[in-house]
Symmetry: C2
Subunit: 257 residues, 2 copies
Protein backbone atom coordinates (compact mmCIF):
# COMPACT_ATOMS: atom_id res chain seq x y z
CA UNK A 1 0.00 0.00 0.00
CA UNK A 2 0.98 3.63 -0.47
CA UNK A 3 2.39 5.48 2.55
CA UNK A 4 2.46 9.21 3.27
CA UNK A 5 2.16 11.31 6.43
CA UNK A 6 -1.64 11.11 6.46
CA UNK A 7 -1.86 7.37 5.73
CA UNK A 8 0.82 6.66 8.35
CA UNK A 9 -1.17 8.60 10.92
CA UNK A 10 -4.38 6.71 10.10
CA UNK A 11 -2.62 3.33 10.09
CA UNK A 12 -0.84 3.89 13.40
CA UNK A 13 -3.95 4.82 15.33
CA UNK A 14 -4.94 2.83 18.39
CA UNK A 15 -7.22 3.62 21.31
CA UNK A 16 -5.45 5.24 24.26
CA UNK A 17 -6.91 4.83 27.74
CA UNK A 18 -4.01 6.12 29.88
CA UNK A 19 -2.96 9.73 29.72
CA UNK A 20 -0.05 11.81 31.03
CA UNK A 21 -0.52 14.86 33.25
CA UNK A 22 0.00 17.19 30.29
CA UNK A 23 -3.01 19.39 29.56
CA UNK A 24 -3.68 20.01 25.86
CA UNK A 25 -3.25 23.68 25.01
CA UNK A 26 -6.15 25.84 23.85
CA UNK A 27 -4.55 26.00 20.43
CA UNK A 28 -4.36 22.21 20.22
CA UNK A 29 -8.00 21.90 21.27
CA UNK A 30 -9.11 24.54 18.79
CA UNK A 31 -7.17 22.84 15.99
CA UNK A 32 -8.79 19.49 16.73
CA UNK A 33 -12.31 20.85 16.92
CA UNK A 34 -11.87 23.06 13.86
CA UNK A 35 -10.54 20.14 11.81
CA UNK A 36 -13.51 18.10 12.98
CA UNK A 37 -15.90 20.78 11.76
CA UNK A 38 -14.42 20.63 8.28
CA UNK A 39 -15.61 17.04 7.78
CA UNK A 40 -18.34 16.60 5.17
CA UNK A 41 -21.88 17.16 6.46
CA UNK A 42 -25.46 16.83 5.31
CA UNK A 43 -26.87 19.55 7.56
CA UNK A 44 -24.13 20.45 10.08
CA UNK A 45 -25.94 18.53 12.82
CA UNK A 46 -22.86 17.67 14.91
CA UNK A 47 -21.82 19.83 17.87
CA UNK A 48 -19.39 19.33 20.75
CA UNK A 49 -19.17 19.89 24.50
CA UNK A 50 -15.67 19.88 25.99
CA UNK A 51 -15.17 18.84 29.62
CA UNK A 52 -11.93 19.35 31.53
CA UNK A 53 -12.46 17.67 34.87
CA UNK A 54 -10.10 14.68 35.00
CA UNK A 55 -11.86 13.31 38.06
CA UNK A 56 -15.08 12.74 36.17
CA UNK A 57 -13.78 12.33 32.61
CA UNK A 58 -13.66 8.86 31.02
CA UNK A 59 -10.27 7.19 31.71
CA UNK A 60 -9.46 10.32 33.76
CA UNK A 61 -8.49 11.96 30.50
CA UNK A 62 -7.49 15.63 30.70
CA UNK A 63 -10.24 16.46 28.23
CA UNK A 64 -13.27 14.71 26.87
CA UNK A 65 -15.62 15.70 24.10
CA UNK A 66 -19.29 14.83 24.20
CA UNK A 67 -20.22 14.41 20.56
CA UNK A 68 -23.78 15.55 20.00
CA UNK A 69 -26.33 14.85 17.33
CA UNK A 70 -27.77 18.36 17.67
CA UNK A 71 -31.22 19.07 16.26
CA UNK A 72 -31.94 21.83 18.78
CA UNK A 73 -29.34 24.13 17.21
CA UNK A 74 -30.80 23.41 13.76
CA UNK A 75 -34.27 24.24 15.06
CA UNK A 76 -32.97 27.56 16.43
CA UNK A 77 -31.68 28.47 12.98
CA UNK A 78 -34.90 27.31 11.31
CA UNK A 79 -36.98 29.41 13.69
CA UNK A 80 -35.19 32.59 12.64
CA UNK A 81 -36.04 31.63 9.06
CA UNK A 82 -39.70 31.04 9.97
CA UNK A 83 -39.65 27.26 9.67
CA UNK A 84 -40.28 24.34 12.04
CA UNK A 85 -38.55 21.00 11.76
CA UNK A 86 -41.10 18.60 10.29
CA UNK A 87 -38.53 16.03 9.13
CA UNK A 88 -39.07 12.85 11.14
CA UNK A 89 -36.88 12.02 14.11
CA UNK A 90 -35.51 8.91 12.37
CA UNK A 91 -34.50 11.02 9.36
CA UNK A 92 -32.91 13.63 11.61
CA UNK A 93 -31.13 10.97 13.65
CA UNK A 94 -29.70 8.99 10.72
CA UNK A 95 -28.34 12.12 9.06
CA UNK A 96 -27.35 13.74 12.36
CA UNK A 97 -25.43 10.67 13.50
CA UNK A 98 -23.46 10.73 10.26
CA UNK A 99 -22.67 14.44 10.53
CA UNK A 100 -21.53 13.92 14.13
CA UNK A 101 -19.54 10.74 13.38
CA UNK A 102 -17.63 12.13 10.38
CA UNK A 103 -16.77 15.15 12.50
CA UNK A 104 -15.67 13.01 15.46
CA UNK A 105 -13.42 10.85 13.29
CA UNK A 106 -11.73 13.97 11.90
CA UNK A 107 -11.11 15.02 15.51
CA UNK A 108 -9.50 11.64 16.21
CA UNK A 109 -7.27 12.04 13.15
CA UNK A 110 -6.33 15.63 13.96
CA UNK A 111 -5.42 14.64 17.53
CA UNK A 112 -3.17 11.81 16.27
CA UNK A 113 -1.28 14.30 14.15
CA UNK A 114 -0.60 16.37 17.29
CA UNK A 115 0.76 13.27 19.05
CA UNK A 116 -2.30 12.99 21.21
CA UNK A 117 -4.34 9.83 21.80
CA UNK A 118 -8.03 9.19 22.18
CA UNK A 119 -10.68 6.63 22.92
CA UNK A 120 -14.36 6.53 22.01
CA UNK A 121 -16.79 5.62 24.78
CA UNK A 122 -19.71 3.95 23.06
CA UNK A 123 -21.84 3.57 26.17
CA UNK A 124 -22.73 7.27 25.89
CA UNK A 125 -25.68 6.02 23.82
CA UNK A 126 -27.25 4.71 27.00
CA UNK A 127 -26.43 7.74 29.13
CA UNK A 128 -28.69 10.41 27.72
CA UNK A 129 -30.65 10.86 30.96
CA UNK A 130 -27.50 11.53 33.00
CA UNK A 131 -25.85 13.64 30.29
CA UNK A 132 -28.97 15.75 29.86
CA UNK A 133 -28.82 16.55 33.56
CA UNK A 134 -25.03 17.03 33.79
CA UNK A 135 -24.79 19.17 30.66
CA UNK A 136 -28.18 20.93 30.51
CA UNK A 137 -28.94 19.33 27.17
CA UNK A 138 -32.16 20.66 25.67
CA UNK A 139 -34.64 18.42 23.87
CA UNK A 140 -33.64 17.08 20.46
CA UNK A 141 -29.96 16.80 21.36
CA UNK A 142 -28.74 13.20 21.45
CA UNK A 143 -25.28 12.39 22.88
CA UNK A 144 -23.81 9.96 20.36
CA UNK A 145 -20.44 9.14 21.85
CA UNK A 146 -17.82 10.46 24.27
CA UNK A 147 -14.30 11.01 22.97
CA UNK A 148 -11.66 10.95 25.71
CA UNK A 149 -8.38 12.64 24.74
CA UNK A 150 -4.95 13.60 25.99
CA UNK A 151 -1.27 12.76 25.63
CA UNK A 152 -0.64 8.98 25.72
CA UNK A 153 0.86 7.37 28.81
CA UNK A 154 0.77 3.96 27.11
CA UNK A 155 1.91 2.70 23.72
CA UNK A 156 -0.22 -0.30 22.79
CA UNK A 157 0.26 -2.07 19.45
CA UNK A 158 -2.01 -1.34 16.52
CA UNK A 159 -4.96 -3.75 16.75
CA UNK A 160 -5.78 -6.25 14.01
CA UNK A 161 -8.59 -5.98 11.48
CA UNK A 162 -10.41 -8.49 9.25
CA UNK A 163 -8.55 -9.61 6.09
CA UNK A 164 -9.33 -7.50 3.04
CA UNK A 165 -11.25 -10.37 1.36
CA UNK A 166 -13.71 -10.26 4.29
CA UNK A 167 -14.10 -6.49 4.17
CA UNK A 168 -14.02 -5.16 0.60
CA UNK A 169 -16.40 -6.73 -1.89
CA UNK A 170 -16.30 -6.37 -5.68
CA UNK A 171 -19.50 -4.97 -7.23
CA UNK A 172 -21.82 -7.18 -5.14
CA UNK A 173 -22.10 -8.70 -1.70
CA UNK A 174 -20.50 -12.17 -1.69
CA UNK A 175 -21.57 -15.53 -0.36
CA UNK A 176 -18.84 -16.05 2.19
CA UNK A 177 -17.25 -19.46 1.78
CA UNK A 178 -16.86 -20.98 5.26
CA UNK A 179 -13.08 -20.96 5.00
CA UNK A 180 -13.06 -17.19 4.46
CA UNK A 181 -15.11 -16.71 7.65
CA UNK A 182 -12.69 -18.94 9.53
CA UNK A 183 -9.62 -17.20 8.09
CA UNK A 184 -11.05 -13.84 9.15
CA UNK A 185 -11.81 -15.12 12.65
CA UNK A 186 -8.37 -16.61 12.92
CA UNK A 187 -6.68 -13.36 11.91
CA UNK A 188 -8.61 -11.42 14.55
CA UNK A 189 -8.25 -14.01 17.29
CA UNK A 190 -4.56 -14.71 16.74
CA UNK A 191 -3.91 -10.98 16.57
CA UNK A 192 -5.55 -10.17 19.90
CA UNK A 193 -4.04 -13.26 21.57
CA UNK A 194 -0.53 -12.36 20.42
CA UNK A 195 -1.06 -8.94 21.99
CA UNK A 196 -2.40 -10.51 25.23
CA UNK A 197 -5.27 -8.09 24.94
CA UNK A 198 -7.90 -9.76 27.11
CA UNK A 199 -5.38 -11.25 29.54
CA UNK A 200 -3.88 -7.81 30.18
CA UNK A 201 -7.35 -6.32 30.58
CA UNK A 202 -8.24 -9.22 32.89
CA UNK A 203 -11.71 -9.23 31.42
CA UNK A 204 -13.87 -11.95 29.89
CA UNK A 205 -17.59 -11.32 29.35
CA UNK A 206 -19.39 -13.71 31.73
CA UNK A 207 -21.88 -16.23 30.33
CA UNK A 208 -25.37 -15.13 31.29
CA UNK A 209 -26.87 -18.42 30.14
CA UNK A 210 -26.49 -20.80 33.09
CA UNK A 211 -26.79 -23.77 30.75
CA UNK A 212 -23.52 -22.83 29.07
CA UNK A 213 -20.32 -23.90 30.62
CA UNK A 214 -17.29 -21.59 30.52
CA UNK A 215 -14.75 -23.33 28.32
CA UNK A 216 -12.44 -20.42 27.72
CA UNK A 217 -9.37 -19.24 29.58
CA UNK A 218 -7.22 -16.20 28.80
CA UNK A 219 -5.14 -18.56 26.64
CA UNK A 220 -7.88 -18.93 24.05
CA UNK A 221 -10.51 -16.24 24.80
CA UNK A 222 -10.17 -13.67 22.03
CA UNK A 223 -11.91 -11.12 19.87
CA UNK A 224 -14.54 -13.22 18.08
CA UNK A 225 -15.74 -14.86 21.29
CA UNK A 226 -15.73 -11.51 23.09
CA UNK A 227 -17.75 -9.67 20.46
CA UNK A 228 -20.09 -12.64 20.02
CA UNK A 229 -20.89 -12.61 23.73
CA UNK A 230 -21.69 -8.89 23.51
CA UNK A 231 -23.96 -9.27 20.51
CA UNK A 232 -25.63 -12.39 21.91
CA UNK A 233 -26.15 -11.28 25.49
CA UNK A 234 -26.20 -7.49 25.74
CA UNK A 235 -28.92 -4.96 25.00
CA UNK A 236 -31.46 -7.51 23.81
CA UNK A 237 -34.38 -5.22 24.63
CA UNK A 238 -34.81 -2.44 22.05
CA UNK A 239 -36.16 -0.24 24.86
CA UNK A 240 -32.59 -0.04 26.21
CA UNK A 241 -31.90 2.43 23.39
CA UNK A 242 -35.35 3.57 22.30
CA UNK A 243 -35.89 4.97 25.80
CA UNK A 244 -32.67 7.09 25.89
CA UNK A 245 -33.73 8.46 22.50
CA UNK A 246 -37.26 9.15 23.75
CA UNK A 247 -35.86 10.96 26.79
CA UNK A 248 -34.17 13.33 24.32
CA UNK A 249 -37.51 13.95 22.63
CA UNK A 250 -36.63 11.64 19.75
CA UNK A 251 -39.32 9.01 19.54
CA UNK A 252 -38.52 7.14 16.33
CA UNK A 253 -41.93 6.09 15.08
CA UNK A 254 -44.05 9.13 15.70
CA UNK A 255 -44.68 11.89 13.24
CA UNK A 256 -43.59 15.29 14.48
CA UNK A 257 -46.44 17.38 15.98
CA UNK B 1 -4.51 27.01 14.81
CA UNK B 2 -1.70 24.51 14.38
CA UNK B 3 -0.92 23.31 10.86
CA UNK B 4 0.76 20.11 9.73
CA UNK B 5 0.32 17.79 6.73
CA UNK B 6 -2.64 15.98 8.32
CA UNK B 7 -4.44 19.12 9.52
CA UNK B 8 -3.89 20.80 6.14
CA UNK B 9 -5.44 17.79 4.41
CA UNK B 10 -8.49 17.83 6.72
CA UNK B 11 -8.93 21.61 6.40
CA UNK B 12 -8.67 21.65 2.61
CA UNK B 13 -11.31 19.01 2.04
CA UNK B 14 -14.36 19.79 -0.06
CA UNK B 15 -16.86 17.58 -1.84
CA UNK B 16 -15.93 16.76 -5.43
CA UNK B 17 -18.67 15.92 -7.91
CA UNK B 18 -16.73 16.07 -11.19
CA UNK B 19 -14.01 13.58 -11.93
CA UNK B 20 -11.30 13.17 -14.58
CA UNK B 21 -10.98 10.08 -16.77
CA UNK B 22 -8.15 8.72 -14.60
CA UNK B 23 -8.97 5.41 -12.96
CA UNK B 24 -7.61 5.00 -9.43
CA UNK B 25 -5.02 2.22 -9.28
CA UNK B 26 -5.59 -0.97 -7.31
CA UNK B 27 -2.90 0.15 -4.89
CA UNK B 28 -4.64 3.48 -4.33
CA UNK B 29 -7.94 1.72 -3.73
CA UNK B 30 -6.38 -0.78 -1.35
CA UNK B 31 -4.66 2.02 0.56
CA UNK B 32 -7.90 3.93 0.99
CA UNK B 33 -9.91 0.91 2.11
CA UNK B 34 -7.17 -0.35 4.40
CA UNK B 35 -6.83 3.07 6.07
CA UNK B 36 -10.61 3.10 6.49
CA UNK B 37 -10.49 -0.25 8.26
CA UNK B 38 -8.02 1.06 10.81
CA UNK B 39 -10.56 3.56 12.19
CA UNK B 40 -11.74 2.82 15.73
CA UNK B 41 -14.63 0.36 15.97
CA UNK B 42 -17.00 -1.08 18.53
CA UNK B 43 -17.57 -4.40 16.73
CA UNK B 44 -16.11 -4.04 13.22
CA UNK B 45 -19.59 -3.68 11.74
CA UNK B 46 -18.60 -1.63 8.69
CA UNK B 47 -17.94 -3.27 5.33
CA UNK B 48 -17.58 -1.94 1.78
CA UNK B 49 -18.68 -2.77 -1.75
CA UNK B 50 -16.70 -1.13 -4.55
CA UNK B 51 -18.37 -0.44 -7.91
CA UNK B 52 -16.48 0.58 -11.03
CA UNK B 53 -19.14 1.32 -13.61
CA UNK B 54 -18.97 5.05 -14.33
CA UNK B 55 -22.27 4.93 -16.20
CA UNK B 56 -24.18 3.96 -13.09
CA UNK B 57 -21.95 5.42 -10.35
CA UNK B 58 -23.00 8.61 -8.57
CA UNK B 59 -21.63 11.70 -10.38
CA UNK B 60 -20.23 9.22 -12.95
CA UNK B 61 -17.31 8.73 -10.60
CA UNK B 62 -14.74 6.12 -11.67
CA UNK B 63 -15.34 4.30 -8.40
CA UNK B 64 -17.95 4.38 -5.71
CA UNK B 65 -18.04 2.66 -2.36
CA UNK B 66 -21.27 1.48 -0.81
CA UNK B 67 -20.67 1.80 2.92
CA UNK B 68 -22.52 -0.94 4.75
CA UNK B 69 -23.67 -1.34 8.29
CA UNK B 70 -23.06 -5.10 8.14
CA UNK B 71 -24.69 -7.31 10.77
CA UNK B 72 -24.83 -10.32 8.45
CA UNK B 73 -21.05 -10.74 8.51
CA UNK B 74 -21.07 -10.46 12.31
CA UNK B 75 -23.78 -13.12 12.48
CA UNK B 76 -21.65 -15.43 10.28
CA UNK B 77 -18.79 -15.09 12.75
CA UNK B 78 -21.10 -15.58 15.74
CA UNK B 79 -22.56 -18.74 14.20
CA UNK B 80 -19.14 -20.36 14.01
CA UNK B 81 -18.79 -19.54 17.71
CA UNK B 82 -22.20 -21.06 18.47
CA UNK B 83 -24.00 -17.80 19.18
CA UNK B 84 -26.96 -15.96 17.67
CA UNK B 85 -27.30 -12.20 17.63
CA UNK B 86 -29.85 -11.30 20.29
CA UNK B 87 -28.78 -7.66 20.60
CA UNK B 88 -31.66 -5.50 19.40
CA UNK B 89 -31.68 -4.02 15.93
CA UNK B 90 -31.55 -0.48 17.31
CA UNK B 91 -28.45 -1.36 19.33
CA UNK B 92 -26.84 -3.00 16.32
CA UNK B 93 -27.74 -0.09 14.07
CA UNK B 94 -26.48 2.69 16.37
CA UNK B 95 -23.15 0.94 16.92
CA UNK B 96 -22.94 -0.31 13.34
CA UNK B 97 -23.57 3.13 11.88
CA UNK B 98 -20.73 4.51 13.98
CA UNK B 99 -18.32 1.75 12.95
CA UNK B 100 -19.23 2.35 9.31
CA UNK B 101 -19.09 6.15 9.55
CA UNK B 102 -15.70 6.35 11.29
CA UNK B 103 -14.36 3.97 8.64
CA UNK B 104 -15.88 5.98 5.79
CA UNK B 105 -14.42 9.25 7.07
CA UNK B 106 -10.96 7.66 7.23
CA UNK B 107 -11.45 6.64 3.60
CA UNK B 108 -12.29 10.25 2.72
CA UNK B 109 -9.15 11.45 4.51
CA UNK B 110 -6.92 8.80 2.94
CA UNK B 111 -8.24 9.67 -0.52
CA UNK B 112 -7.51 13.38 0.01
CA UNK B 113 -3.92 12.52 0.84
CA UNK B 114 -3.64 10.73 -2.52
CA UNK B 115 -4.97 13.84 -4.30
CA UNK B 116 -8.30 12.21 -4.93
CA UNK B 117 -11.69 13.77 -4.23
CA UNK B 118 -14.94 12.33 -2.95
CA UNK B 119 -18.56 13.04 -2.22
CA UNK B 120 -20.99 11.32 0.14
CA UNK B 121 -24.42 10.51 -1.25
CA UNK B 122 -26.76 10.59 1.73
CA UNK B 123 -29.83 9.44 -0.15
CA UNK B 124 -28.47 5.88 0.02
CA UNK B 125 -30.46 5.67 3.27
CA UNK B 126 -33.64 5.57 1.20
CA UNK B 127 -32.33 3.16 -1.42
CA UNK B 128 -32.05 -0.10 0.45
CA UNK B 129 -34.62 -1.89 -1.71
CA UNK B 130 -32.76 -1.07 -4.93
CA UNK B 131 -29.32 -1.66 -3.45
CA UNK B 132 -30.37 -5.02 -2.01
CA UNK B 133 -31.38 -6.06 -5.50
CA UNK B 134 -28.41 -4.54 -7.35
CA UNK B 135 -25.81 -5.83 -4.90
CA UNK B 136 -27.36 -9.05 -3.56
CA UNK B 137 -27.38 -7.69 -0.04
CA UNK B 138 -28.47 -10.30 2.48
CA UNK B 139 -30.74 -9.48 5.41
CA UNK B 140 -29.27 -7.40 8.23
CA UNK B 141 -27.04 -5.37 5.93
CA UNK B 142 -28.04 -1.70 5.78
CA UNK B 143 -26.47 0.60 3.16
CA UNK B 144 -25.58 3.73 5.12
CA UNK B 145 -24.10 5.98 2.48
CA UNK B 146 -22.46 5.94 -0.95
CA UNK B 147 -19.01 7.45 -1.31
CA UNK B 148 -18.20 8.55 -4.87
CA UNK B 149 -14.49 8.93 -5.55
CA UNK B 150 -11.92 9.74 -8.21
CA UNK B 151 -9.47 12.42 -9.33
CA UNK B 152 -10.99 15.92 -9.20
CA UNK B 153 -11.97 17.68 -12.42
CA UNK B 154 -13.13 20.72 -10.43
CA UNK B 155 -11.53 22.79 -7.69
CA UNK B 156 -14.29 24.34 -5.60
CA UNK B 157 -13.45 26.51 -2.58
CA UNK B 158 -13.56 25.08 0.92
CA UNK B 159 -17.11 25.56 2.24
CA UNK B 160 -17.88 27.61 5.36
CA UNK B 161 -18.81 26.22 8.77
CA UNK B 162 -20.53 27.66 11.84
CA UNK B 163 -18.42 29.97 14.06
CA UNK B 164 -16.63 28.15 16.88
CA UNK B 165 -18.87 29.79 19.54
CA UNK B 166 -21.86 28.07 17.90
CA UNK B 167 -20.14 24.69 17.70
CA UNK B 168 -17.91 24.04 20.74
CA UNK B 169 -19.47 24.43 24.17
CA UNK B 170 -17.62 24.64 27.50
CA UNK B 171 -18.66 22.01 30.05
CA UNK B 172 -22.41 22.42 29.40
CA UNK B 173 -24.83 23.13 26.60
CA UNK B 174 -25.43 26.90 26.35
CA UNK B 175 -28.53 29.04 26.01
CA UNK B 176 -27.83 30.57 22.63
CA UNK B 177 -28.23 34.34 22.76
CA UNK B 178 -30.16 35.37 19.67
CA UNK B 179 -27.23 37.35 18.31
CA UNK B 180 -25.03 34.24 18.33
CA UNK B 181 -27.65 32.38 16.24
CA UNK B 182 -27.76 35.29 13.82
CA UNK B 183 -23.98 35.59 13.63
CA UNK B 184 -23.75 31.88 12.85
CA UNK B 185 -26.42 32.12 10.17
CA UNK B 186 -24.75 35.15 8.68
CA UNK B 187 -21.37 33.40 8.49
CA UNK B 188 -22.90 30.42 6.68
CA UNK B 189 -25.11 32.46 4.37
CA UNK B 190 -22.51 35.02 3.43
CA UNK B 191 -20.00 32.24 2.85
CA UNK B 192 -22.19 30.30 0.43
CA UNK B 193 -23.37 33.48 -1.32
CA UNK B 194 -19.79 34.68 -1.85
CA UNK B 195 -19.07 31.32 -3.47
CA UNK B 196 -22.22 31.56 -5.64
CA UNK B 197 -23.00 28.05 -4.47
CA UNK B 198 -26.74 27.83 -5.15
CA UNK B 199 -26.63 30.10 -8.20
CA UNK B 200 -23.99 27.89 -9.82
CA UNK B 201 -25.97 24.78 -8.91
CA UNK B 202 -29.08 26.49 -10.27
CA UNK B 203 -31.10 24.88 -7.51
CA UNK B 204 -33.49 26.24 -4.90
CA UNK B 205 -35.71 23.86 -2.94
CA UNK B 206 -39.27 24.63 -4.06
CA UNK B 207 -41.86 25.64 -1.46
CA UNK B 208 -44.29 22.79 -1.02
CA UNK B 209 -46.66 24.93 1.04
CA UNK B 210 -48.83 26.76 -1.48
CA UNK B 211 -49.63 29.41 1.10
CA UNK B 212 -46.01 30.52 1.15
CA UNK B 213 -44.80 32.90 -1.45
CA UNK B 214 -41.30 32.53 -2.88
CA UNK B 215 -39.40 35.60 -1.74
CA UNK B 216 -35.90 34.41 -2.50
CA UNK B 217 -33.77 34.78 -5.60
CA UNK B 218 -30.26 33.43 -6.16
CA UNK B 219 -29.05 36.77 -4.79
CA UNK B 220 -30.20 35.97 -1.26
CA UNK B 221 -31.09 32.26 -1.17
CA UNK B 222 -28.34 30.60 0.84
CA UNK B 223 -27.42 27.79 3.22
CA UNK B 224 -29.74 28.43 6.18
CA UNK B 225 -32.82 28.81 3.99
CA UNK B 226 -31.83 25.75 1.94
CA UNK B 227 -31.29 23.47 4.92
CA UNK B 228 -34.40 24.83 6.67
CA UNK B 229 -36.51 23.92 3.64
CA UNK B 230 -35.10 20.38 3.71
CA UNK B 231 -35.74 19.89 7.42
CA UNK B 232 -39.18 21.51 7.23
CA UNK B 233 -40.48 19.86 4.07
CA UNK B 234 -38.67 16.59 3.39
CA UNK B 235 -39.07 13.14 4.88
CA UNK B 236 -41.79 14.11 7.33
CA UNK B 237 -43.13 10.55 7.52
CA UNK B 238 -40.94 8.28 9.68
CA UNK B 239 -41.98 5.39 7.45
CA UNK B 240 -39.77 6.91 4.73
CA UNK B 241 -36.80 5.53 6.67
CA UNK B 242 -38.34 2.89 8.95
CA UNK B 243 -39.46 1.01 5.85
CA UNK B 244 -35.99 0.87 4.18
CA UNK B 245 -34.66 -0.43 7.49
CA UNK B 246 -37.46 -2.99 7.75
CA UNK B 247 -36.73 -4.16 4.20
CA UNK B 248 -33.22 -4.98 5.44
CA UNK B 249 -34.70 -7.04 8.27
CA UNK B 250 -34.05 -4.27 10.78
CA UNK B 251 -37.32 -3.42 12.41
CA UNK B 252 -36.37 -1.03 15.19
CA UNK B 253 -38.93 -1.75 17.86
CA UNK B 254 -39.19 -5.51 17.82
CA UNK B 255 -37.21 -7.86 19.96
CA UNK B 256 -35.13 -10.33 17.96
CA UNK B 257 -36.80 -13.76 17.51
Amino acid sequence: MIRNAVIDSLMNRKSIREFTEQIPSEEEILTIVRAGQQAPFAMQLGSVIIQRNRETNAFNAPIQFIILCDLHRMEKVMKVRGWNREASNIHSLLFGMQDAAYMAQNMVTAAESLEMGSCFVGSALYMSEKLREDCNLPDHVFPLVILAMGFPAEDPPVRPRYPMEFHLFQEKYPDFPEDSVKRAMDQMDRGYLEQNYYKKAGFMIPLSDKAREEKFTFDNYSWTEHISRKMAQWSTDPEDLLEPLRICGLSLNEKRD
